[in-house]
């Protein structure tokens, strides 16, 4: 057990060091910021899908809610950015509580149900009827608090916390319990696990991560429209990165993000339609030949994957 924790810690340290040091080697901080956003979101998806089996197509709903709650706390309540980001996380948890009946659905029903929920939040936030509150379709402008350095550091802290949480879950009884619930809720109940409670905790945790990440994103990008933060591609990227790397591990989403997002930046920028094509083909290959992601290559050889 202790050794497993050590492997997790190595991944943690490498990731955090990379994001701390890379901007001084290569000054496009934004590239690394986006990478961190996707990494944290991928880990959020990992907690939910990897450990409980719920595939959240509408994960971006929490991201957008966090972004908006953070932005509105700053513009309307004049709260400084960092506490505002925490409010963003809380707002997503509140949304998670409102949407918790979704957890009664399984498989594809949940996936599509969460998608519908996120679209609903988007249409409500961007509706002109709420213009006085959300600024409706006009979007958000946070130029007055724009500090890319500070928001970058905040994002590193968030990634560190998220990685820490995932390492904890991966190595704790809580994580085992979640996997047990995913495998067989009845047996899990018989084993004394409060199925509904534990599942809800994973759901809220995952919602909070997306909310906080959304908040930091809002601060960093500072001018955005509802379409920017409720873009379904954000969910899809996070999900594909997670699946590609391999769920239920700390390393999987990290690998998935670095490889695919790296790949995206290599060919995606100049020839995106070819990228989308290759992306699609990669997904088919993954599903047909490597359904448990890249880490299964290591697992098959009998290695422990943190």
């Amino acid at each position: 057990m202790r050794k497993h924790l050590l492997y997790g810690a190595i991944v943690f340290v490498v990731v955090i060091l990379l994001f701390t040091l890379l901007p001084s080697v290569y000054s496009n901080e934004d590239l690394f910021f986006q990478a961190m956003v996707y990494l944290a979101l991928a880990q959020g998806v990992n907690i939910l899908y990897g450990f409980t089996g719920y595939l959240p197509f509408g994960y971006v709903g929490f991201f957008g809610t966090g972004a908006y709650a953070t932005a509105l706390s700053i513009t309307l309540l004049h709260i400084p950015p960092i506490p505002a980001i925490l409010i963003g996380g809380l707002a997503s948890v509140v949304l998670g509580i409102l949407l918790s009946p979704l957890l009664r659905l399984s498989g594809a029903y949940f996936a599509i149900g969460s998608l519908a929920a996120s679209q609903m939040v988007y249409y409500i936030v961007s509706n002109p009827a709420l213009q006085n509150l959300t600024n409706g379709p006009y979007g958000i402008n946070l130029e007055s608090v724009y500090q890319p350095r500070a928001s970058y550091i905040t994002m590193i802290v968030i990634v560190a916390l998220v990685m820490g949480v995932v390492i904890y879950i991966r190595n704790s009884r809580f994580g085992l319990a979640l996997q047990a619930i995913r495998e067989d809720p009845v047996s899990a109940g018989m084993a004394g696990i409060h199925v509904v409670r534990q599942r809800a905790m994973a759901w809220f945790l995952s919602a909070m991560i997306a909310g906080v990440v959304g908040g930091a994103f809002a601060w960093h990008i500072s001018v955005f429209y509802p379409t920017t933060v409720f873009d379904l591609n954000i969910s899809i990227f996070a999900i594909v990165f997670t699946l590609f790397g391999g769920v239920t591990t700390v390393l999987g989403p990290v690998l998935g993000m670095f490889v695919l997002y790296g790949f995206y930046n290599v060919i995606g920028i100049s020839e995106p339609q070819y990228f989308q094509l290759i992306y699609g083909v990669l997904i088919l290959v993954l599903v047909l030949f490597l359904p448990s992601g890249m880490v299964s290559l290591m697992k098959r050889r009998g290695h422990y994957v943190p």
């Binding site: 009664r104 399984s106 519908a116 249409y123 992306y279 088919l284």
Partner: protein, 291 residues
């Protein structure tokens, strides 16, 4: 205004039923959610567009050709990939991701081949007369589209209830194991169902320029979600329940447009969400879930 809204809702609803029915057939037979449904519909739409623009073919004719081609393509996709998917540990989830991959590929190829510019077919391609129904004027394209939708749906009914392979299809929908044990070739039935499912999507596609406005390579994703709401409202796995789902969807969105247009887009998602929460089996469905 009320009469107009109701009749438009019914006409639009018939089209919506056609839009969802293929997705539901595939779900019913294979328990797969075809996330590329909207993209096959988009291909159908572009097929009709090119047929009309280059050869002057009526969309109604394009529809017939596309149905035949798509049945073949669907069966091909089935035999190439699905047996392998079914052997995996979690076929339901993997199929979801698989069809997402297919959707990405289709969209990418469509952008490369067709470019991004929105296209549309002039409405007079389906007739330019103005029909009088209950003292209200409706453009012919809507009436004709609704009529074609109704005919195609009727054919689906005939297929399911009055042909031998249709009986087998319904048996597989009931239970794959029992169907297999009573000597039905489940793979063959499923492959045909896949073909018909995609064919129905492309059939709806040929009519979509008249009901959904201009067509683009990226139109598919929204359509998949909308179709999914339609079939859930009706009843998942019961293709004819889709007719009810389509009509309810069509009517409610037309009512929203008439009376509270600014919130019209919430309709499909709100309906989907409510039905999922309170009656996951759909309005016509029997309770299927226990735990």
């Amino acid at each position: 205004m009320l009469t107009y809204t109701i009749i438009s809702g019914l006409l639009f609803g018939l089209f919506c039923s056609l839009m969802g029915i293929g997705l539901n057939l595939i779900f019913g037979v294979m328990r797969f959610v075809n996330l590329a449904h909207g993209d096959f519909l988009m291909l159908g739409a572009f097929g009709a567009y090119f047929a009309y623009t280059f050869w002057g073919l009526s969309p109604a004719l394009a529809l017939v050709v596309e149905i035949i081609v798509m049945i073949a393509i669907g069966a091909l996709i089935y035999y190439a990939f699905v047996p392998r998917l079914l052997r995996s540990r979690d076929p339901e989830m993997l199929s979801l991701i698989f069809f997402f991959g297919i959707s990405q590929i289709i969209q990418a190829i469509a952008v490369i081949a067709f470019s991004n510019n929105p296209r549309s077919i002039v409405w007079s391609a389906l007739g330019s007369a103005n029909y009088q129904v209950l003292g209200q004027g409706f453009q012919e394209s809507w009436v004709v589209s609704a009529l074609i939708s109704a005919i195609v749906i009727a054919l689906v009914y005939v297929y399911l209830y009055h042909t031998k392979i249709g009986y087998a299809t319904r048996a597989v929908m009931g239970s794959q194991e029992e169907a297999a044990s009573s000597g039905i070739n489940v793979h063959r039935v499923s492959a045909i169902a896949m073909g018909i499912g995609l064919a129905l999507a492309s059939a709806a596609g040929t009519l979509s320029p008249f009901l959904l406005g201009s067509i683009t390579p990226n139109m598919g994703s929204d359509i998949t979600t909308t179709s999914f709401s339609i079939i859930i409202i009706g009843s998942l796995g019961n293709p004819l329940g889709t007719v009810l789902g389509g009509l309810i969807y069509g009517l409610s969105s037309m009512f929203m447009q008439s009376y509270v247009p600014s919130w019209a887009n919430l309709v499909p998602y709100l309906l989907l969400f409510l039905i999922l929460l309170f009656k996951p089996s759909g309005l016509l469905g029997k309770v299927v879930r226990h735990a």
